[in-house]
Structures are given as C-alpha cells and as structure tokens.
C-alpha cells in the first residue's frame, strides 16, 4: 500500500502553508504562499479572507504534487491558524463581509478602554481568563457590528456568521454556502473573550457585555476529533483537528504534561506553559488559555506569555528601514559588531503585550548616540526578542513558583544562531530546538492523526521528539544584570505615549 500522510494547513499571519508528515512525524513536503498585509489606516491591519482561502486551495495540492503523491494518500487534515483574527461572512452567499481584522489591529483601543470602565481591564478575567485589550476577538466583533450599517440587524436575524480563520477554512473545506460546517475549537474559542474558560461554552454574560448576538457564533468542538469530511480541495478526507497556532506548537513540541513549556518565534512570539487540567490564574500578566482538548476527554490548560512584535521587528528592519534584503541577513549585519553599543529597541508598535499589557505604550530606540551603526541596531532588533522572552519567563516563574530549567523553541527565528545564543545567555538555561521547526504544523498534524487513528496515543508521539540543536548559556552574570536593567529602563520610556485625548473617536 502506498505510504499515507497527514496534511497540516498552517494559516499564519504572513502566509499559508501545507506540510505533509509521515507516520514518524517527519516533514516530507512543504508548499507555501504569502498573502497581502493590508494597512488601510494607521493601526489597522487586515487580511483578505478570499485570498487566504484561495491560497489554501493552491498549497494543499502543491504539497501533494511535490512528492508525487495522490490525494488518496492523505488520511486527515489538521488546521492550525493565526489566532484572534476575526471575520464576518454572509451565511447565504458564503462571501466575507469586508476584510478579516487581524490580531495586530488596534482600531478597538478606545472601545476597549470604554468597556473596561471603572472596573479595569481585568473585568472579565475570571470568566474568560483574558484581560481587555485590542488583541482578542470580542471587541473586534462589536466594532464591526457597530460600524457596518444594517449589520447588527442582519446578525440578529442569523444571516451573518463569525469565525476566526480555522472556522473560515472548515466552512470552506465543507462546501461553504452549500452546507458548510460552522465550527471552531476550544483553543480558538478561548481567545475570543466570549467563551467561559471553565464550562468551555459561550457565556451569556460575556455575549451581553460585548453585545454579540449568539446567532453568529460557531459551534465549539474539541481540538482533536473529526469535525467533518471535506468536500472541497481534498474531497473525502476528514478534518481531524483545529487549533490556534500557538497551542498547535505546544502540541507539536509534545508538551503533554503539566510543567512543560515551549516558545515559538515567528511574527510574534508566544511562550506557553502546560498547566494540566488546572486553570491557573496569573498574577503577573500571563493569559489563561485552553491548551487543547482531545475528543471527549477533559481539556488541558496553559499559561501564555504573548509578545506581539518579534519577527515582525525584523521585517520592519527589512521593509520599513530597508537595512537588509532578507530576514536572515540581520544575523550577518549584527555580527559586524561585538555588542549593541548601548542601544535598545523596545518594539511597542501596538502597545506592549505580556507581561505589561500597556496599550498606550509606543516603541522607542533608547541609548542612541553617534557611535551607533546599523550593525548595533541589528543587534538591538534581535536582542529585543531575547529581553521580551526574559520578561515573560520571569513572570511565568513567579506565577508557577518553579524556575524554568530549559527552553524548547521553534518557529522561523530559530534559524538565527545569534539570537538563540543570546537567549540562552540571557535566560541562563539551555535553549533547545527540536528536529521539526515547523511545530505549528506538526501539532495540527498530530492532533488530526490522533483523531483518525493514524497515531494511537500521545506516548508514541513523544518518542518522535528529538533534539536538533542546543545552545548553552555563557554570559557573565554581572553583564546579564546590567543589560536587563538597561532594557527595563528603556521599557519604562515607552509608557503613557498615547494620551487618552489622542485616541480617535
């Protein structure tokens, strides 16, 4: 019999990938297409959902063709997606209403301040595990319903559907307007602010607070479990899983037990710590989120430290400043100097995420002198990712009471050796990269393969994990302390930049 594979679709912030994995969890082919980032106004970041679906219809066949396989060799589809990016579409025509509003979009900042009111941003934290910020979906849905004439009435009549990107993909894979399934999974639902973190159901108190009609919401399903059989792109193949990309990466790194953690370095970076079936409430700016749910088993939870701007700072250095031609060249440029020369870049482009959660903060380059060259700035760009990780690890350690002993990493930025060494130096623990850097896709594949019986259990998956590289700490402790203090001083200088009267009505 011909070899069988699981197809993972990673619908990311910048691109959509299809990766095929074999039974040993080895990557056998990759096809990828970027989509446009649309910036209609300052602070707004949108995607064209039609373009994204179109890319899915191209990368999936391309990945299969690359190894000369046929669709009949695909046993399941697993979906991982950029989280919180929100889309409304017409139930009857299946067409998007406007564009998808991405997780980086800050148009809801005023709304979020209003909603927080006198009770503050943690108003809903007990119910949904999240603070009120522009990052999550609910304020975005509210904004769309408020700003599109007639939309709220149509939504209440059940003519409009809401979904994050996995819902959009599942709907289209299963026929769209012709009988498509409108569903999400617990991990994605846990990022909306509308799901009760304990019951794993839409919560009327939250729906009311955000004024979101229940009729637009998808059905919440386990992350791993057969959603439906596809009728488009791969007709007859079962959709076995959907997870938010960061949760998928946690799964792909086989962090199946409480206490295991990983950090994924892409456009943004996200450190997730598995907390088992326990809901841990952070006192230090971490989010409480669902890690995954397998079939009808109880859900697993995680604490998350989210950094909004890491790889995207490298992209800004490349595209915004034109200092380099490719992201990887930043390492070459950074190696032209010995250190940062005293410069620190705090990339609070849309406020600061964990552990600060300051939406009014904006970025700074601190310590700028005539001595600074572009090599120093390249270092400062990479180091910003290191320092942000250290802040998150400190907060995570404080919450869990246990110090991290090693950091498992993955994502596009792990190809950067200078950054990985800096991370080890700064965190003072070994930094370990697994044999598959595309853990987002691997996690989606694992969850889908489990659902259809391609893999029997979690233990078998664990034995697929192998160390591909490791960086050991070498930095002198005094230097580490000074560097961190400098960074923290630079962070202070980003606060209170946007004053309430500056916000657009």
């Amino acid at each position: 019999m011909a070899e069988q594979y699981v197809a993972a679709v990673d619908q990311g912030t910048n691109s959509t990938r299809c990766i095929l994995f074999d039974r040993r969890g080895r990557l056998v082919s990759v096809a990828q297409r970027e989509h446009h980032q649309l910036f209609p106004r300052p602070g707004w970041v949108e995607h064209d959902a039609g373009e994204i679906w179109n890319n899915v219809t191209r990368v999936v066949p391309a990945a299969i063709k690359q190894i000369g396989a046929t669709p009949s060799q695909i046993v399941a589809i697993g979906i991982a997606n950029q989280r919180e990016t929100s889309l409304l579409w017409d139930r009857v025509t299946g067409r998007p209403i406007g564009r998808a509003v991405t997780w980086q979009d800050t148009r809801t900042d005023r709304l979020v301040t209003e909603l927080a009111g006198s009770e503050g941003p943690d108003r809903f934290a007990q119910l949904c595990g999240l603070p009120l910020t522009t990052y999550f979906s609910a304020p975005r849905i509210r904004w769309l319903l408020d700003h599109t004439p007639g939309l709220r009435q149509r939504a209440e009549r059940g003519e409009i559907l809401f979904g994050t990107m996995e819902s959009w993909l599942i709907w289209n894979f299963t026929g769209g307007a012709n009988g498509g399934l409108h569903a999400t999974d617990v991990t994605n639902a846990s990022r909306t602010m509308l799901m009760n973190i304990e019951t794993l159901e839409w919560d009327d108190r939250l729906l009311e607070a955000f004024d979101v009609p229940r009729a637009i919401l998808p059905e919440i399903r386990p992350s791993s479990g057969v959603f439906a059989t596809a009728t488009e792109v791969l007709p007859g193949v079962r959709i076995g899983a959907a997870l938010g990309d960061q949760q998928a990466a946690l799964f792909g790194q086989t962090c199946f037990s409480a206490g295991e953690a990983k950090c994924t370095y892409g456009t943004g970076s996200f450190l997730l710590l598995h907390t088992g079936q326990e809901i841990v409430r952070s006192k230090h700016g971490m989010l409480t989120t669902v890690a995954y749910q397998i079939g009808d088993q109880p859900a697993s939870y995680a604490l998350e430290g989210s950094m909004a701007v890491t790889g995207s700072l490298v992209q800004w250095f490349r595209d915004g400043l034109g200092m380099i031609h490719t992201a990887a060249e930043i390492e070459t440029l950074a190696r032209t100097v010995e250190d940062n020369g005293g410069a620190y870049i705090v990339p609070a482009f849309s406020g600061l995420f964990a552990p600060h959660w300051r939406s009014e903060a904006r970025g700074v380059i601190a310590g700028l002198t005539g001595y600074i060259t572009k090599g120093h700035l390249a270092r400062a760009v990479l180091e910003a990712t290191g320092f942000q990780t250290l802040e998150v690890v400190d907060a995570m350690n404080a919450d869990s009471g246990i110090a991290l002993t090693a950091l498992k990493v993955d994502g596009g930025m792990t190809a950067n050796n200078l950054l990985m060494q800096f991370l080890a130096d700064l965190l003072d623990v070994p930094v370990v990269r697994p044999m598959v850097t595309e853990t987002v896709s691997l996690g989606a594949a694992y969850a889908a393969g489990l659902a259809v019986g391609y893999w029997p259990d979690l233990e078998g998956l664990r034995s697929n994990w192998h160390r591909a590289g490791q960086w050991m700490p070498h930095m002198d402790p005094a230097r580490r302390a000074t560097e961190y203090a400098n960074w923290q001083a630079a962070v202070q200088r980003t606060f209170n930049w946007i004053r309430p009267e500056d916000q657009e009505p």
Binding site: L27, T332, N416, H466, R467, A468, Q470
Partner: protein, 250 residues
Amino acid sequence: MPGTVQSIERAAAVLRLLAAAPDGLGVADLGNALGLAKTTVHGIVRTLHQVGFVEQDHSGAHYHLSDAFGRLGESYLDPNELRSRAINWADSLASRSGEVVRVGRLVEGKVEVVHHVFRPDDSDQDLDVGTTLPPHATALGKAVLAYDTSARPRSLEAYTTRTITDPVQLSEELATVRSRGWATEFEEHTVELASIAAPIRGLGGLVVGAVGLAGRIERICDSRLRHRGDLVSMVRATADAIARDLREDP
C-alpha cells in the same frame, strides 16, 4: 559557431540603461528606449530582480541597479539565508537517516559549517556552526570543491592514512563527484567515520554550498564498504529540495 543569445543582449542593454539612470526607470521607460514590448521588458527585469542584479523601489514602479551588481565577486547568497532555507530539509534528512547533518559552503579554501543538525538520538552533542572543515577530507568539502574554479586547497594535509594528499588523485576524485553529482568520504578525516554530501545549486546552476550527513562506517556503508544507496538518494533529494526553495522565491 553557435549563435548569440538575444535575451542576454537585451538584458545587457537594460543593465546599461539602469546604470545610467540614478533615479531608476520603469518598465515603460525601458520598453520605449529599447523599442521592446512591455511584456518582454517585464520578463527581463523580473529575471534580473530574481538574480539580484536589480532592485525595485518602494512603490514597485521603478527599477535600479542593486549594490550586489557592483560586487559580483562576493558570495551571492548570505550564509544565514542559506541556513534559513535549508533548515526544514536538513532536519528531515537527519530524522530519516538517523545521522548528523551539516550544510557547508566554501570560504577562503575551507568549508565553513553554516548549519548543523544533531544526530537524532538525544545524546550530548555541541553545535559546530561557524567552525571549518578541510575540504579535501570531507564529503561536504568535495561536494563544493568540485564546482569551484578558483579555490584548490594549497596543502593537502593528512588526517588519517586514507586522506587524499595527492593533488592529481584529488582532481580525479572531484571529476567523479562532478560526473555523479554527489561526493563521498571514507575514514579520510576521522577513523571509523564516513560521509556523503551533495551540492546545492542556486539560480542558474551556481553551487552555493552542500548538504551532507556523516556517521559511523557500519551505518553509512553496506557490507561491501560501499556508501549506502538509500542514504545517497536521501542526501541528493535534500540538496534538490533546498535548491528548489532557493530558486522559487528569492
């Protein structure tokens, strides 16, 4: 005598025009100047853009010569970019073969390790990215040396009794590499170890580096001490996959 290639003549004309226009030129400007259709010019500038000779301005409307065009002698592919492109495929090779994988490129007559993937047995191993290997005594080295027209190692140092130290013998070995498209080594660097490597060809066929695996001879070679055919195929497929990635989207 074979004829000349018209598209290269046209590309040369486009380069001359761009070199003389500090503010850059649009496709229409170039078409008018050369009396060529816009689609023809578009194909030429797109290709020149892909090979890194011209760049686009922010709006995408104007093209100008790139800095790289003035530095053609330098390596055209950044080593860190090579690692970024190779990482998925090198991982896959390591997990399929069960051996250590390295990506290397030729720098001043030595092979610089650009990327290193541990043998997937979770044993203690240290990353050796940035260190150098002797090109004549490793498969990785032979796979790049075979396609380099300038860098013959000056002295052929012996690491074991099997190291090739005779320049004539090395030339023959490199000719074999060229005719087969892959390179091997057997206890030529370290006793009891063997390696296999294949060149990575970028745009236009330029060899930008090599990818290979290394391990104990009983795992790398068959009972007749020949390098295992299945491993050779895996290494070649890996080199091809990286090359395809490099050519697809620069």
